[in-house]
């Protein structure tokens, strides 16, 4: 019988029931009355700060008022008009650093209106009715290729299809959704929501989804440019940064770990270390650490090379990790890996430069997960700047007729909601370009 104390890497450290409970919805859906109470707290601010803080500029006061007046379907439409992945964003957005951070109630009482959960209440209500709130404009005869079925690609494809264009989406993975499907903690989006959302989005019509096709190997970029009137690249970041320390081969990618977990049909069969160390400080690090703990790892440590204040994961995410028993270590960087252990070196910052202090600590590590950022892997001849596709305006790349959006570009932050905003805006620009202003 395996348990959290079983040495090495093993599956089935917890019972099926315990694992099911651990991976249940992080924030269960509001019921109607809870939604009313939460909605009543909104002040319907003038020129609302929450709306400004939302990368997709959802009219938050309006949709909350629509919930208040018992029309969550109308609220959902307000959301989807700006953000077709409003259902996923309601689940995965770090609202504590976006809309809810600037809510005037946060300023007044330290307790913002629960915008994310209200958004989920509205979008879930409409989606549960199996209805798609938008209809497609008459066929324009224009054809657009969208590379990557992640948030940016899906948002771009939907908007283009709605305008009457014919869209073909290519994705190398077997399922659409990108990081929503493969890269985000399971407890944030349970019940196969990413796949359901992609299906629902496709109901607009005019979108041909081709999965398992890689640009470069299956079709060349030039073929795409030749076959279509426009191309949108929403390819994300395919590579993972290297640790550049001894024993690197003993570490695995956190993104891969999460993808395996998300695609697993039986989490009790998924192996996890007794002692897990996650290197990094972003949301991927937290997602990997918390899920390791949920699988039954006895000790999980996040090792971040800078101080808490510099950690990319929000304070909310940090607290979520801590509440789940994950140990947060700050100002440490990996020095070397060996079988069953990792040696970390303490760091200090002088004149803005990070360096090791020479002091080290060695802790048990059966499994080391790297979450130290991802890199652009597919560059199709478009100009790159700072390791990302350089775009201007609404996602225009250096090549005419080629747009880009999402994590692969130098626009915005690497968040689902930014991907949606960039995909949507590129679609509008593509439409204007194709149809003539």
């Amino acid at each position: 019988m395996t348990s959290p104390m079983t040495p090495g890497i093993a599956a089935g450290r917890l019972s099926t029931e315990e694992i099911a409970a651990n991976f249940a919805d992080l924030h269960p859906q509001f019921d109607a009355h809870e939604a009313q109470v939460a909605a009543d707290r909104c002040y319907f601010c003038h020129d609302a700060p929450c709306m400004t803080a939302c990368p997709t500029s959802i009219d938050i006061p309006l949709f909350i008022r629509q919930i208040q007046t018992d029309t969550p379907e109308a609220a959902a439409k307000t959301i989807f008009e700006q953000n077709i992945l409003g259902g996923m964003c309601a689940r995965v957005c770090p609202t504590e650093t976006l809309c809810e951070e600037v809510c005037v109630r946060e300023a007044a009482e330290g307790k913002p209106v629960e915008i994310g959960r209200l958004q989920r209440y509205a979008t879930d209500t409409l989606m549960a009715k199996q209805s798609h709130p938008f209809s497609r404009a008459p066929e324009t005869g224009k054809r657009v290729a969208v590379v990557g079925a992640g948030p940016a690609g899906l948002a771009c494809a939907h908007r283009l299809a709605m305008k009457g264009h014919s869209v073909t989406i290519y994705d190398a993975k077997p399922k659409p959704g990108g990081l929503n499907e493969y890269g985000i903690a399971a407890y944030k989006t349970p019940h196969d929501f990413a796949a359901k959302e992609a299906d629902w989005l496709m109901q607009i019509g005019g979108i041909d989804l081709r999965t398992g096709i890689s640009i470069g190997s299956d079709i060349t970029f030039d073929e795409l440019r030749g076959d279509f009137d426009a191309v949108f690249l929403g390819i994300g970041l395919g590579g993972v940064n290297a640790l550049r320390t001894g024993g690197e081969e003993l570490a695995t990618d956190a993104v891969e770990f999460i993808a395996d977990l998300r695609q697993s049909s039986d989490l009790s069969a998924l192996p996890v270390g007794r002692n897990v160390v996650v290197i990094g400080g972003g949301m991927t690090a937290v997602d990997a650490a918390v899920q390791s703990k949920h699988l039954g790892a006895e000790n999980v440590t996040i090792a971040y090379r800078r101080g808490r204040e510099a950690m990319p994961a929000s304070r909310y995410e940090q607290d979520l990790a801590a509440a789940n028993g994950v140990k947060l270590m700050f100002n440490v960087m990996p020095s070397s890996l060996a079988e069953g252990e990792i040696t970390l070196e303490y760091t200090s910052v002088t004149d803005g430069k990070l360096s090791g202090t020479g002091e080290t600590v060695t802790i048990p590590a059966d499994q080391v997960l790297k979450a130290i950022g991802q890199t652009l892997t597919t560059v199709s001849g478009v100009a790159v700047e700072g390791g990302k596709i350089a775009v201007t305006g609404a996602g225009r790349t250096s090549i005419d007729g080629v747009w880009a959006g999402g994590d692969c570009t130098n626009l915005g932050e690497d968040l689902t909601v930014w991907g949606v905003a960039e995909g949507r805006d590129a679609a509008e620009d593509i439409h204007t370009t194709l149809m003539g202003a």
């Binding site: 002040y43 601010c45 003038h46 700060p49 005037v104 300023a107 007044a108």
Partner: protein, 433 residues
């Protein structure tokens, strides 16, 4: 601790909080629970004539409106007077009064508008030992169509006539309960006084439809697809009730006539406000129906704390203190100038004041860089809307402009008291030559 003992028409009660004649006071069981909970008095649910009692509907008899978090703000009802036999009620009242001699027990009565009906019931009520009677001239539904309730209360001559009969056939205090479903509340109050009433109580409920069922296309509460107007009460009616109390309190013809205040009283503060306007005590119904009899404990502790803080020794000390300050619009000081002031430390930058002022008022609030909201004294007419819509209490206040200082809006120095009666724009101005 302040003494809450109240003497109303010679009827003593340990506090000024009475339960109004309504569903909560329909029977011995409820009234005993109310007295145990601490209520100072009870006006028993209205008695009708001997004979088969009235009947109530068997579908819903209440409708409501709600505020945030389903807080009940207004209730209406289509319940009639007691539907239990007269003798049952009289027997219960007798027992209860005997067991609670220190509490006020008032019998509410509604019988047809003929002398014989009153002559018959009054001695039987007198025998219960109740401290007084309240004439129900107020109920707006069901009984009015039978020539009782508000059908009487809307005709001052009937009020006077029935009151005279009561004073003739009953020896203890007679309180006349007034309907608000009338244009000028002073008329029925004057009639009651003329008939010899010892006091008036008001308001009874207001004709209302609380909501419409948009699926059935019928008013609520809906009885088999139909609805009827009911009597509206609860916190929502308090402002209407207080105005009527004040009108009677300051009317030279009825000034000094004792008043029992009724209408949406939910907290000690509501009670203090009614009493400051001239009510000698108050009657409560909806608050008890919403929260149970226990609410009286907050009313007692709150009123007592406030009286201690203000140095009032008894309730009589502050009854009617605000009445002289209720005046007619034409006597308001037109040279009294205030300006809205926003406390920037308290402001949470919601911008509601700006939206209200910019869209619907005088464009006197400026929205500056960084969501800073400031008042433009040159445009502010001191309407108070920003204060009313601000979600933060005391964030926006009205600051009085000292006499002699210039009002930036008019360019005029603030002068001494002057009102409309002497204003040059008033065609009937009575300004001295």
């Amino acid at each position: 601790m302040a003494d809450l003992t109240t003497d109303f028409l010679g009827i003593k009660s340990p506090n000024p909080f009475w339960l109004a004649s309504a569903p909560p006071t329909d029977k011995e069981y409820n009234v005993r629970r109310a007295f145990e909970a601490g209520w100072g008095g009870v006006v028993w649910k209205t008695l009708g004539s001997e004979g088969p009692p009235v009947v109530n509907v068997n579908g819903p008899r209440y409708g409501a409106i709600w505020g945030a978090d389903r807080r009940l703000l207004g209730l209406n009802n289509i319940e009639l007077i007691t539907d239990r036999p007269l003798q049952t009620n009289l027997d219960e009242m007798t027992r209860v009064k005997k067991d609670y001699p220190d509490r006020a027990l008032i019998a509410s009565i509604m019988v047809p508008c003929d002398e014989q009906s009153w002559k018959e019931i009054l001695p039987r009520v007198e025998d219960t030992g109740a401290d007084g009677i309240e004439l129900n001239f107020g109920c707006p539904h069901g009984m009015a169509e039978r020539g009782m309730g508000s059908a009487v209360g809307q005709v001052p001559e009937y009020i006077q006539m029935v009151t005279e009969w009561c004073k003739m056939y009953y020896s203890k205090p007679v309180i006349v309960k007034l309907t608000p479903n009338i244009t000028d509340i002073r008329k029925p109050a004057r009639a009651a006084k003329a008939g010899g009433a010892d006091a008036v109580s008001l308001i009874n409920t207001i004709n209302s439809i609380t909501s419409v069922d948009l699926d059935q296309m019928a008013p609520e509460p809906t009885i088999g697809g139909k609805g009827t107007h009911g009597g509206y009460c609860g916190p929502a009616v308090k402002p209407i009730a207080m105005n009527m109390v004040a009108e009677i309190a300051r009317d030279p013809e009825t000034h000094g006539l004792p008043i029992s205040g009724i209408g949406g009283i939910t907290t000690w503060r509501d009670a203090a406000e009614f009493m400051s306007l001239g009510a000698g005590n108050v009657q409560v119904c909806t608050a008890a129906m919403t929260y149970g009899f226990k609410v009286v404990q907050e009313m007692i502790s709150g009123l007592s704390q406030w009286m201690d803080e203000k140095g009032y020794k008894s309730t009589a000390d502050f009854v009617g203190m605000a009445t002289p300050n209720v005046t007619d619009w034409q006597y308001l000081d037109l040279n009294y100038v205030t300006k809205a002031k926003i406390d920037q430390d308290a402001c949470i930058s919601c911008g509601r004041c700006f939206a209200a002022c910019e869209d619907t008022s005088h464009q006197a609030i400026l929205m500056k860089e960084g969501r800073v909201f400031e008042v433009d004294d040159g445009e502010c007419v001191a309407c108070n809307l920003c204060v009313n819509v601000c979600p933060v209490e005391d964030c926006i206040t009205m600051v009085e402009l000292p006499k002699g200082e210039v009002d930036l809006r008019t360019g005029q120095k603030r002068g001494d008291y002057a009102n409309w009666t002497t204003h040059p724009n008033n065609p009937s101005s009575t300004a001295a030559e």
